[in-house]
């Protein structure tokens, strides 16, 4: 920080800083980190967006679908014989193989929880034609219950870190170090988003999802199996959350903690709303924008404002442009 600014701050004893110099000097570092984090937000946001598009339901428990994936990742590493502590030395092939295994486990676990949630909690409500608030309260209850179950099983503390992929600097842009991990996170997020987009827009099941999102009753009349479409939607959202969990654990190996989903979930939801909820491209854009804004905001205002930045973005968007940046919904996307 510039000495003059430091002096001014200590003199006035102000509780918020405007460190423009810090923002400028750390800009590119924060850009790299923001994009890597934004990819994770985007993948979780896709789950919110898909379910919202089809059911007009905020799946409040999606954050727990995600966090189950982080535990699955950790357990896979543990089952493979790795123990917390010093970083193991592995060949590239081994790293890729083990990470793929963990990814499959995480996606399976998250997908299972998402589909289970739909079966146990949401389907009975749909059959009873319950109002929307009942869905939301049920989702809150489910979120609470999964969190507490994880707490009872794994305890209050984070699972000690096991890390297979050691970040290695690859190159620099404008002085900011870019590691192999940053590249993997960014590319994987975009790739998975392409897959999801292809699935929704180009496949038969995807057409069903769009049809139900547009008009559930007509879609049913036209022969679309609505229940099946809903299960598939939850499954896809869960699989993406599981993948996000693996990437998150690559970035933050201490990430498996019972209540770790809440903040990430809120932020991913913010990303979904920011881009335009119900819109797949919006989720990707919103994820990256939020990842960047959050990191820039910390440099500007100080580290303790990290979470407030996300909450303020959420409120501003919901109040002034609830349709988000891109605005179109899943149902209205090109058919």
């Amino acid at each position: 920080m510039h000495p003059a600014i430091t002096a001014a701050l200590t003199q006035t004893d102000s509780w918020i800083q405007f460190d423009v110099h810090g923002l400028a000097s750390q800009f590119w570092n924060n850009t790299v980190d923001g994009l890597a984090q934004g990819g994770i937000y985007a993948l979780i946001a896709l789950g919110y967006t898909l379910v919202y598009g089809v059911l007009k339901l905020i799946n409040f428990a999606h954050s727990e679908v995600f966090i189950v994936g982080t535990f699955a990742t950790w357990l896979t590493f543990y089952a493979l014989g790795f123990r917390p502590g010093a970083d193991p030395h592995l060949s590239t092939i081994e790293v890729i193989g083990f990470l793929l295994l963990a990814g499959i486990a995480a996606m399976a676990a998250s997908g299972l929880v998402a589909v289970g949630l739909e079966r146990v909690a949401y389907r009975p409500l749909r059959n009873r034609n319950a109002p929307r608030l009942v869905f939301l309260i049920t989702a809150i209850g489910a979120s609470f219950a999964i969190q507490q179950a994880l707490k009872l099983i794994f305890g209050l503390n984070q699972q000690p870190q096991i890390r297979l992929l050691q970040p290695q600097p690859l190159f620099r842009i404008f002085g900011a170090v870019v590691t192999n991990r940053d590249i993997i996170l960014f590319v994987a997020a975009v790739l998975l988003w392409f897959l999801a987009d292809y699935f929704v827009n180009k496949t038969r099941l995807g057409r069903g999802i769009r049809a139900v999102a547009q008009d559930p009753d007509t879609a049913t009349l036209m022969g679309v199996n609505k229940e099946r479409v809903i299960v598939v939607t939850f499954l896809v959202g869960g699989l993406l959350a599981g993948a996000a969990a693996l990437f998150y654990m690559m970035k933050i190996p201490q990430g498996a903690i019972y209540n770790g989903g809440f903040l990430l979930g809120i932020k991913a939801f913010t990303a979904a709303v920011l881009g335009g909820i119900g819109n797949l491209r919006g989720a990707l854009l919103g994820g990256f924008v939020l990842g960047l804004v959050e990191n820039y905001g910390q440099s500007l205002f100080g580290g303790e404002w990290k979470d407030i930045v996300a909450f303020v973005v959420l409120i501003i968007v919901l109040m002034f442009r609830p349709t988000g940046i891109l605005g179109e919904s899943l149902g209205k996307a090109r058919v």
Binding site: A121, R132, G141, I146, L318, M319
Partner: protein, 356 residues
């Protein structure tokens, strides 16, 4: 005829004749210290105060969630504002002018009402689940601000809240705090009950049941939603100030989102829209974990599962809301059908066919 109908058929004096002994019994609970009810790990009067505090919060949140049907996930924010108002004006840690503790109670209500207007004016244009998420965001922002804004002292907090200049607390022991809180609950219940039977209360029910229809029928929905939000906020602020006075210490640790969820669970479990129901819900949420310490590890898990099960099988909660749409309902019903009003057994959360 079920119990509730029988109750409704009683005349007012008969209802009072039953209620007054119940209220007296409630007052004497901490003195009686009944062996089966008494808590082991926590001092019983202190536990009873905690229950009373939750009950007051539940009554306040019920106005917002149960009466007007606005799902507020950030209610703990108002509770926090009330607690901080009491702390700022009574604690020696604060540089503000010191006031007698009793004055801070109405002050806390006024300040939280202003907060309610500030938060409600923009947010109440949103509906349903968007409103829920925005209130959640506001609740978290209030907690984080208490942490980041230096004059609010973060986790260091304010000590000796509610003491006078001589350093004496407002009440000496938990039993007195309990009596004071129960008295306030009775007064608040009477006021809220009157409000429910008034034009405002009918407007709320109309909004809760179908906002669009209410609007078309000439109910100024936005105005009445703000009313509900503000009145709920005031009661939340009041309970926050009581909590601060009893505890004598306020920091940012008690206003997290889990607390907000517990408040909501109290209302929804007991029966949103039903005053007796939410009191029951508050007792369930606040008392059972203190009484059965052996299940303390599991209580949140149990509440979470209970919420799911309840929403599927009994969305109106343990005791459902009553549809009191007539100003002088009893007389009207007795005139028409010779007995008290009928019970619909439904609530905001259980309207049939309320598809989206």
């Amino acid at each position: 005829m079920n119990i509730r109908e029988r109750w409704n058929n009683l005349s007012r004096p008969a209802q009072w004749a039953f209620l007054i002994p119940v209220v007296v019994l409630v007052y004497f609970l901490p003195v009686l210290n009944p062996p089966i009810l008494a808590t082991s790990g926590t001092d019983f009067p202190s536990a009873m105060f905690d229950v009373a505090r939750y009950a007051l919060v539940a009554v306040g949140l019920n106005v917002v969630v149960g009466q007007a049907g606005l799902l507020d996930l950030g209610y703990v924010g108002f509770f926090a504002v009330g607690a901080y108002v009491a702390a700022l004006f009574t604690s020696p840690n604060s540089s503000l002018h010191k006031l007698p503790y009793l004055w801070t109670l109405p002050l806390a209500m006024v300040v939280t009402m202003i907060f309610g207007i500030i938060l409600g004016t923009p947010t109440l244009r949103l509906r349903g689940d968007y409103l829920a998420i925005v209130t959640l965001g506001f609740g978290e922002i209030i907690r984080l601000l208490a942490d980041n804004v230096t004059p609010l002292r973060g986790q260091s907090g304010f000590e000796r809240v509610g003491t006078n200049n001589a350093g004496q607390p407002f009440f000496e022991n938990a039993t007195q705090w309990y009596w004071f809180t129960v008295t306030i609950i009775v007064i608040v219940l009477l006021l809220v009950g009157n409000l429910e039977r008034s034009r405002v209360g009918r407007a709320w029910v109309a909004i809760r049941e179908d906002e669009d229809v209410a609007e078309i029928m000439g109910v100024s929905t936005y105005k009445f939603k703000i009313w509900a939000f503000v009145i709920g906020a005031a009661i939340g602020g009041l309970s926050g100030a009581l909590y601060a006075g009893r505890l004598g210490f306020v920091n940012n640790q008690s206003f997290d989102v889990v607390t907000s969820m517990l408040f909501l669970a109290a209302v929804v479990l007991g029966g949103a829209g039903n005053k007796v129901g939410v009191l029951l819900g508050a007792v369930v949420v606040a008392y059972l974990p203190l009484r059965f310490v052996q299940i303390a590890d599991y209580n949140y898990l149990i509440f979470g599962i209970a919420l799911i099960v309840l929403m599927i099988f009994r969305p109106q909660g343990l005791l459902g809301a009553r549809q009191r749409l007539l100003a002088k309902g009893r007389q009207a019903y007795q005139h028409l059908i010779g007995r008290g009003e009928q019970v619909s057994g439904e609530s905001a959360l259980a309207e049939p066919g309320g598809n989206q």
